[in-house]
């Protein structure tokens, strides 16, 4: 006997939803049924939001952050210091830094890091445009805020070697203890890094 399933349209919707990050087969089915059974306009609103976001959001031509025009809000803001440039891996890394309000310079997102094991070479990243910016904007300091792992460190090393010839101070954000945390709650690796990166008083 043939087993009854959802109509093709619903099955197709479930298959499409499953391509979204974090959505498994069960969630995909629940979302699909909600879309089909909703009595208001919410599903249509979501569809419009997806379409219009796809149309209006693009990477900032200068730094790679999310933008609605050629330049993102940060790059277009004239009150921000041109002398400071902060290099990050992903555009999403900019938001946590912004939340600190401790940095009033500009950013440059590389769109990843050099990783031979994942077949990511320097040409795949926004490195040429970083060099161009350094030449054009002549910042006085470049701060590297990449991940504290092997790839993040190697990418930082690569960029430092590349930018050494420019008259600019190159710095890396510190690794260390979480604010408000006692020594006893820190793991040994963090603590040994904090020791290695101690600062003069």
């Amino acid at each position: 006997m043939k087993r009854t399933e959802y109509p093709v349209a619903i099955r197709e919707l479930i298959a499409q939803l499953r391509q979204m990050p974090g959505v498994g087969p069960r969630s995909a089915e629940r979302i699909a049924l909600w879309i089909v059974q909703a009595r208001n306009e919410q599903p249509a609103g979501i569809a419009r939001a997806i379409a219009s976001t796809r149309d209006t959001i693009r990477p900032c031509l200068q730094c790679g952050f999310f933008a609605t025009a050629d330049l993102c809000e940060i790059c277009a803001d004239d009150s921000r210091a041109r002398e400071l440039l902060c290099v990050v891996e992903q555009p999403t890394d900019i938001l946590p830094l912004e939340k600190t309000s401790a940095f009033r310079g500009r950013y440059h997102s590389l769109g990843g890091r050099i990783s031979p094991l994942d077949r990511v070479a320097p040409e795949d990243l926004r490195i040429a445009s970083l060099v161009e910016r350094v030449e054009k904007e002549a910042p006085s300091e470049i701060i590297f805020a990449l991940a504290a792992d092997v790839e993040g460190e190697a990418t930082t090393n690569y960029l430092v070697a590349l930018l050494k010839k420019y008259p600019v101070t190159l710095t890396r954000i510190a690794h260390g203890l979480p604010a408000g945390g006692g020594l006893e709650s820190a793991d040994e690796l963090t603590l040994s890094r904090a020791l290695a990166g101690r600062t003069r008083l």
Partner: protein, 351 residues
């Protein structure tokens, strides 16, 4: 102490549970009943790695996609869930993001007949022995080892590309040197601690007749960076990083002769035991809780004198899980429960 162990979809077992006592626990069964698997599950639960293989994927029962091992250590409940690309560790029902706390609980020493490979096998076996101890003895060891391996693989991938580019290579050389130097220091310190214990154990098990010596033979020089710079042309020819801790060895000599080539089979077995006993002693020295000893079917290969000497040297306070096909050799005062393993069922006899 490991009070209780449960397996689900782990190797040959769909589901099985066992209870253990302090001191000796004997697991008895015919070949192929899963005695070694029980010991492996204990190791996987407590150390999140197998003493048998470097990957956990083969431990998933055929036809299944995941396994669970769980159990009680003292009052704490531990659980480890594994499936390809997903591992979940829970301590008292709370999922752990940082495994350091969990791994601090119990250390493990495994004795098995393939320990002979430590003496006869390639240097990789001895590096794995050191790493297995290092990751248990020091929280910093595992992240440094992982960073070294990652930097090494990345660097080798660059060297293998059709036109290796010096600047990318240099970017990866720096983390390689840093992790490599730390790893070398940690392994050297580890061997310094193991050597006196191993040498004393070997002398005792051999009845005071033989002398073992242990020496760390690093695969890189003190100035690792300078050595890498010197070997660049050779690296380009072989398309590999040719010096570094991935070439380390542990030099073993019995009566001042290399143990792999010159020691007899009996001497080699003694040396393997001495290395494992030294591991147990280093752990015992480090922590208040003595290590759990997994002894997998090695009594059959030892003569009565060495068997007794070994038992006399196992740390008294340690809990021991011992497997054997039969127990007729068991004499005297090594009491403890016997767990009979037949057709996927455990029958426990206390005495």
């Amino acid at each position: 102490m490991l009070r209780e162990l449960q397996l689900r979809d782990f190797r040959c077992f769909a589901s099985i549970a066992a209870e253990f006592s302090p001191g000796f626990n004997f697991i008895v069964g015919a070949n192929g009943q899963g005695k070694t698997t029980l010991l492996e599950a204990a190791c996987v639960l407590l150390r999140l790695q197998s003493q048998r293989s470097s990957s956990l994927a083969p431990a998933v029962r055929v036809g299944q996609r995941s396994f669970v091992v769980s159990g009680h250590v003292g009052e704490h409940r531990l659980q480890f869930y594994y499936r390809a690309l997903r591992r979940k560790v829970a301590f008292d029902g709370v999922e752990q993001r940082d495994q350091a706390e969990y791994l601090r609980l119990v250390r493990v020493v495994s004795f098995a007949s393939h320990d002979l490979e430590l003496i006869r096998g390639p240097a990789e076996m001895r590096r794995r022995y050191l790493d297995f101890i290092g990751t248990q003895a020091e929280a910093r060891y595992r992240p440094v080892l992982r960073a070294y391996e990652r930097a090494l693989r990345s660097r080798n991938a660059l060297l293998k590309s059709p036109h290796p580019r010096p600047r990318e290579l240099a970017a990866y050389t720096e983390p390689l040197v840093r992790a490599g130097t730390s790893l070398r220091e940690m392994r050297a310190a580890l061997v310094r601690r193991l050597a006196p214990f191993a040498e004393a154990s070997h002398r005792a098990i051999s009845g005071g007749h033989e002398n073992l010596s242990l020496e760390y033979a690093p695969g890189s020089e003190e100035d690792f960076a300078a050595q890498l710079a010197r070997t660049r042309t050779e690296e380009e020819r072989l398309r590999l990083t040719i010096v570094g801790p991935h070439r380390d060895d542990l030099r073993l000599q019995v009566e001042a002769m290399p143990a792999a080539q010159f020691a007899s089979e009996g001497q080699q077995r003694t040396t393997a035991l001495a290395l494992k006993l030294a591991q147990a002693q280093v752990f015992a020295e480090d922590t208040a809780t003595p290590p759990l000893l997994l002894v997998d079917d090695i009594f059959g290969e030892l003569d009565a004198a060495r068997r007794n000497a070994l038992l006399a040297h196992l740390p008294n306070e340690s809990q021991k899980l011992v497997t054997a096909t039969a127990l007729d050799w068991r004499a005297g005062d090594w009491g403890g429960p016997v767990l009979e393993l037949t057709d996927g069922e455990i029958r426990r006899r206390d005495k």
